[in-house]
């Protein structure tokens, strides 16, 4: 529940998840190693390893003996589904709380969403 200052290994796991979701880390390709992650994020290798373990436990990464960790086939779709499931709670809810605080009703918010959607080029 605590959002800020979340455990470092979760942040690292999430950064890899993001790469998988946005496609920059393709399925079946090699995931960054513990040491690469440690050097990149400037964290203790144990923390980086823990981040990778989280992803392996979720089945997003698969260990190949002596070669390293690879992105599991279907990982991207799995993550997208997972994120869709929490989208309302994670984004819409705080949006509506803030909207209520500043006196915007649902209709006005929807109008703004549609307006912005065309701006960022998302499909409506």
């Amino acid at each position: 529940m605590i959002e800020e200052g979340r455990a470092l290994f979760l942040q690292i796991a999430e950064s890899i998840e993001n790469s998988i979701v946005d496609g920059s880390l393709a399925e079946e390709s090699r995931a960054p190693s513990t040491n690469e992650l440690a050097a990149f994020h400037r964290v203790n290798p144990a923390t980086a390893a823990k981040g990778l373990t989280v992803l392996a436990d979720k089945g997003l990464l698969t260990k190949r003996r002596g070669v390293g960790m690879f992105v599991t086939a279907g990982a991207r779709e799995k993550l997208r589904a997972e994120r869709r499931a929490v989208f309302a709670a994670r984004f819409v809810e705080p949006l509506m709380v803030e909207a209520a605080t500043i006196g915007l009703n649902a209709g006005e918010v929807i109008a703004m969403v549609k307006d912005r959607a065309t701006a960022v080029g998302a499909q409506s």
Binding site: M1, I2, E3, E4, G5, R6, A7, L8, T34, N35, A38, A39, H41, R42, V43, N44, P45, A46, T47
Partner: protein, 307 residues
């Protein structure tokens, strides 16, 4: 796993009082420890005793299950460059590095060369003519390149600017990843090293008051900010360390993590919950330990704590 260092009941008595007053802890193999505490808390004293440079008044130290005193089998696997390390008469930087390399079979000459370039160290300058930062850099290079199984860094950043400190942290992590070993690093710059270390040892008043993983340390305390009424509810069910109010809102620091239900109620009431960073967590708990041990430490003496 079998610890590489076991310190038990270490007491170091001086006429002015005890520098160490029953210090005990284990160091596990292949772990980076942050050794934290205020000035004069006993960090350097402890490291000196483990390496047999200094003698404890009582208590025991075992390194690799042996007594380190006059024992090359054990001493030769450690490296401890002091914060105010002395170097032999009229030695230059190059001399000092060559001298240190003699005693470590795993010494990495190429790495040393790269670090000299990174830190822009003048090789032909005499060590006693180096600036504070350059002197620290020499110690850092010896510590890193020795690849000693147990390496001690005693406030290695003194006089180093932000760029040089980042270089040190980066090289430390990269080299440690390739060559895991036990590292005990004393530091006042807690937030700078918080991500590098795996465990924290906090010493205060000659005693170890925290010996836990960084995760445990940072999840031990929670800060809540929001309306006073909601904070009151949280305060009733948790041990409060600090409370500040401003108008109808305030901030609360308390022990533990609120339950799922608790945080949901609190969030709905407009309370923001966050875990407390390592530095702040240690400052709070050091202050708490000081008040718990007795009145000899006044609140004002806590000023500049760990800074």
């Amino acid at each position: 796993m079998n610890p590489v260092v076991r310190a038990r009941d270490l007491v170091k008595a001086y006429p002015a009082g005890n520098a160490l007053d029953g210090v005990g802890f284990d160091l596990e193999a292949n772990t980076i420890y942050g050794f934290l505490g205020r000035n004069g808390a006993g960090k350097s004293t402890t490291m000196s005793i483990i390496t047999s440079q200094l003698f404890a008044t009582s208590g025991t130290v075992r390194v690799f299950d042996e007594d380190p005193y006059e024992n090359p089998r054990v001493l030769g696997r450690m490296c401890f460059v002091r914060e105010n390390q002395k170097y032999p008469e009229s030695m230059t930087t190059a001399h000092a590095l060559r001298a240190a390399s003699l005693f470590y079979p795993g010494w990495d000459h190429d790495f040393a060369e790269r670090l000299v370039a990174d830190f822009r160290l003048p090789l032909k300058t005499k060590v006693k003519k180096l600036s504070r930062g350059q002197l620290s850099a020499v110690g850092v290079i010896i510590g890193l390149c020795s690849r000693a199984e147990i390496t001690f860094f005693d406030e290695p950043y003194l006089g180093l600017d932000a760029v040089a400190r980042q270089i040190f942290y980066d090289r430390l992590i990269a080299d440690y990843a390739e060559h895991p070993r036990t590292i005990l690093m004393s530091s006042h710059l807690i937030d700078e090293i918080a991500d590098l270390i795996e465990r924290v040892l906090v010493i205060d008043g000659g005693r170890i008051i925290m010996d836990e993983t960084v995760e445990e340390a940072t999840s031990a305390l929670t800060r809540a900010t929001g309306p006073t009424a909601a904070l009151d509810r949280l305060a009733r069910s948790h041990r409060v360390l600090e409370r500040r109010t401003m108008g109808s809102a305030g901030a609360l620091v308390f022990h533990g993590i609120p339950s799922e239900a608790e945080s949901e109620t609190a969030t709905h009431a407009g309370v923001r919950l966050e875990s407390v960073g390592l530095q702040e967590s240690i400052v709070h708990r050091t202050a708490a330990a000081a008040t718990a041990t007795g009145p000899e430490l006044s609140p004002t003496s806590m000023e500049g704590a760990l800074s």
